[in-house]
Subunit: 488 residues, 2 copies
């Protein structure tokens, strides 16, 4: 498989939208979206009705477009797709995104229709994404086969592979509020041709992608997925959310993207062996990606916690230690330094519970600099009445907690994650002190868990980089047969 | 133990604050807070310096206050507490909240000081909350021994017992944004006298309290806690977050509220046997309480899911089924009704994946009315571009999804929980359609988990109500010895 094979999906030179139309829906929204993002002169519209739409001529057939074309986006009704695919093939276009639904996910006759489309595509040597998807997003050149809000087009280090179109779309709406921005996104749908393995390898080569998040209902091809993961996770973390853990959950996916989602424990083992991170929940997926996208890999598993609440420190400690991190004593140097400025009642230890000492701004840099500590979790809470009283006395959040973003910059080699809970205004004040390089969590446990995940990836990553060992697949051929997509 | 014993903490007739002062801190802030909430004429201030503060005379000694007094709030430095306690005892005051820190939580000498205070309190037959706490909140009469933001004084059905003062305070700041409001809150600190068991029984009798949330680092007295839980959980759900799951986490709590937090699995077993719900995380605690505070107990474990995203439906299904819920087929009546209005491509099943059908407003009432379904999870997502396009075409969220709050009212006997993910404006639109009686989650798994928790409580609750069996404690005497608070 050559990665260049997929490039036209993300960097087309000439695009034809087959199924552009006047009525509400994808076929109506995508042309002006692409026009508004600089693709107008490389965009061509096709609809048997002809005429004009959004100020552009509408061709009746793909053949009528004489300009260069290397990508087709198909949005016609399902029963019209085979005919359209013939037109596209005849025209010599080798890359097609089929967004239309109503194929394998609907049952027998849909599956037959999908097989027919597949045969046509193969006959022309075409690469196909979909059907039953919304295709691709590339923020670098602002190309997308789906309408998006402007915010979702801000370039960033994260790429998404999602089996479901709606799921991918919702993530694109949702992630900016967590400070997460996208390089590429792909929704796979029924995976008639292109699957997650090929896309992982494409994103591996993509210099803009630093972290890959994946939503799967089942692997299109288990052994190939493991092989791709082994390769890609040597360079980039891959965090996977997979549904279908239970029998009932599996049934739920079957009618959705036409996948059989396989035995769940096989996925657990396979992902772990391949160095991929499996998230338990949607929020766990986002949490892990937030930390991977903003933090360096730690040199070891030694966590230091600084906290203004002993309780929250204890809750974070439980999760960190359960996740494989250690909480060593602070170095004698740090203890001496801290003792000099700490009030008598403060225990100078790890977790470093500051109580109402108001020494956060002095102690955070000491903890980050400690040679015994590989990463830091900072838990910042303060009753809002105290915040308001201090504010009216002229004391700002910055006076109390320091210029956290600058402190962060002085220790770029150590992960630093924050937890802030309380009144929304306080949370906002602290988040702005922390800046975009410190992810802020609303609960101590997921923050500790995300740091443990970061460490586990760094460890497998290092180990595999050193040994360059060949990772064996947990999927054997027997098991795989039941795990292949119905249609892939 | 008589519940009336504790009433003066929440409904004092005359209050003396010992340690009122001019400089920043609790001693400065609480008097005007109480004045502003209607307690001025029942509030008296004491400080050896005398003079005037916040327009009130400051007495030099407790004895100098001639008006009726039945509650003392102590905010003097630790070393001055024994002397002050003698004054309070002499004055005949039987209820004291000691907010001062610097006792058992700081080590040997602090423990000795605390024992000294305890001996004095016992000598006078005094009941004591604290030390090392912020005392109590009662929203019904707007009494609190701690400064709070106005929002936190809105009366509601939830009561809090928290071992840590900061933790309790932060919860009070944080909960209103989840629509959770408080009846009573108590922070226990080092538990020289009053402990969580007594408070549970007090809240059991409190007609304003419907749900109790507890944060513990360790039980003051294990067998007594179990006994109280068995009793209270027959009437009200009790959700407990307990830190110290790991050895390192336990060490973290030791220097915080002076607790030994015991062996974690004993707590798991004891809480389960006693019918209490143990939360895994802070957000799990809040999630469970949100559902208990707003939803009826389900009649059975049959969950119906309605969703605009098949993927999110599958993720919720996995968690629901793992948590003990079932996802039965819809009744023939519902299937027929739904089939009449559903587009051909839609699978009318459970989970009910609506795709882009825009039939939510018609199908939600059918699902809620289904005789085969005991509770409903509604997952509402829509790409924000579609929302904006629809809005500009004059179609509102209400047109699309119906008057969800009214639908909810028609089925008051069935729990209904929502999941909304995406652009913040969309989330806000849907939340306002749902109203305060439907908790909205930002991820499908915690919503499904909270519903499973609701069902588990309803089951143990019913079972125990029927059998009225005597619940045996998992704590045996041997284990308890190591589990008793250092000081309690």
């Amino acid at each position: 498989m050559s990665v260049d094979n997929l490039r036209n999906f993300f960097e087309p030179k000439g695009i034809v939208i087959v199924g552009a139309r006047r009525s509400f829906g994808f076929g109506y929204g995508i042309p002006p979206f692409l026009q508004n993002h600089g693709w107008g002169n490389r965009l061509h519209l096709v609809n048997p009705a002809g005429g004009e739409l959004h100020g552009q001529n509408v061709y009746k057939r793909v053949q009528d477009v004489l300009e260069p074309l290397d990508l087709a986006i198909v949005i016609v009704p399902a029963e019209a797709v085979p005919g359209v695919m013939e037109e596209i093939g005849e025209r010599g276009i080798k890359h097609t995104i089929i967004e239309t639904a109503g194929f394998a996910e609907t049952g027998e006759s849909g599956l037959a229709l999908q097989e027919k489309v597949k045969t046509i595509a193969m006959g022309y040597g075409m690469r196909v994404i979909g059907p039953n998807c919304v295709g691709v997003v590339n923020t670098e050149n602002r190309f997308a086969s789906v309408e998006l809000i402007e915010e979702a087009l801000t370039p960033g280090p994260v790429s998404i592979i999602a089996q479901s179109g709606v799921f991918g779309n919702i993530l694109l709406d949702h992630l900016p509020q967590h400070g997460l921005f996208i390089s590429k996104a792909v929704t796979l749908g029924n995976r008639l041709d292109v699957d997650e393995s090929e896309l992982l390898e494409y994103l591996d080569e993509d210099r803009f992608t630093r972290v890959i998040m994946v939503y799967l209902e089942g692997a299109a091809n288990g052994p190939r997925l493991v092989k791709s993961l082994v390769k890609v996770t040597q360079h980039k973390p891959v965090v996977i959310l997979k549904s279908g853990r239970t029998q009932t959950g599996k049934q739920a996916t079957a009618s959705h993207t036409g996948s059989l989602s396989g035995q769940d424990h096989i996925y657990d083992a396979a992902f772990a062996q391949a160095g991929a991170i499996r998230a338990d929940t949607l929020s766990g997926l986002i949490d892990a990606v937030r930390v991977f996208a903003t933090q360096p890999l730690p040199k070891g598993n030694r966590l230091g916690i600084i906290t203004t609440s002993g309780s929250l420190g204890a809750l974070a400690t439980d999760v960190a230690v359960s996740g494989g991190l250690t909480m060593p004593p602070l170095s004698p140097f740090t203890v001496n330094q801290a003792r000099d400025i700490a009030p008598d009642w403060m225990n100078v230890r790890n977790p470093l519970d500051l109580g109402p000492s108001q020494k956060f701004n002095r102690l955070l840099p000491m903890l980050l600099a400690d040679s015994e500590i590989d990463m830091v979790l900072a838990i910042i809470v303060l009753p809002y009445v105290a915040v308001k009283n201090l504010k009216s006395a002229g004391v700002t959040a910055r006076d109390l907690f320091g210029d956290i973003a600058s402190v962060r910059k002085q220790h770029p080699e150590k992960p630093l994650v924050g937890v802030v809970i309380g009144h929304p205004e306080f949370v906002e004040d602290i988040a702005s002190l922390c800046g975009p390089s410190i992810p802020i969590f609303a609960s101590p446990e997921p923050a500790a868990k995300a740091l443990a995940t970061l460490w586990r990836y760094s460890r497998t990553h290092d180990y595999r980089m050193q040994k360059n060992r060949k990772c064996q697949s947990s999927f054997d051929d027997q098991r795989i047969s039941e795990d292949t997509s119905l249609v892939g």
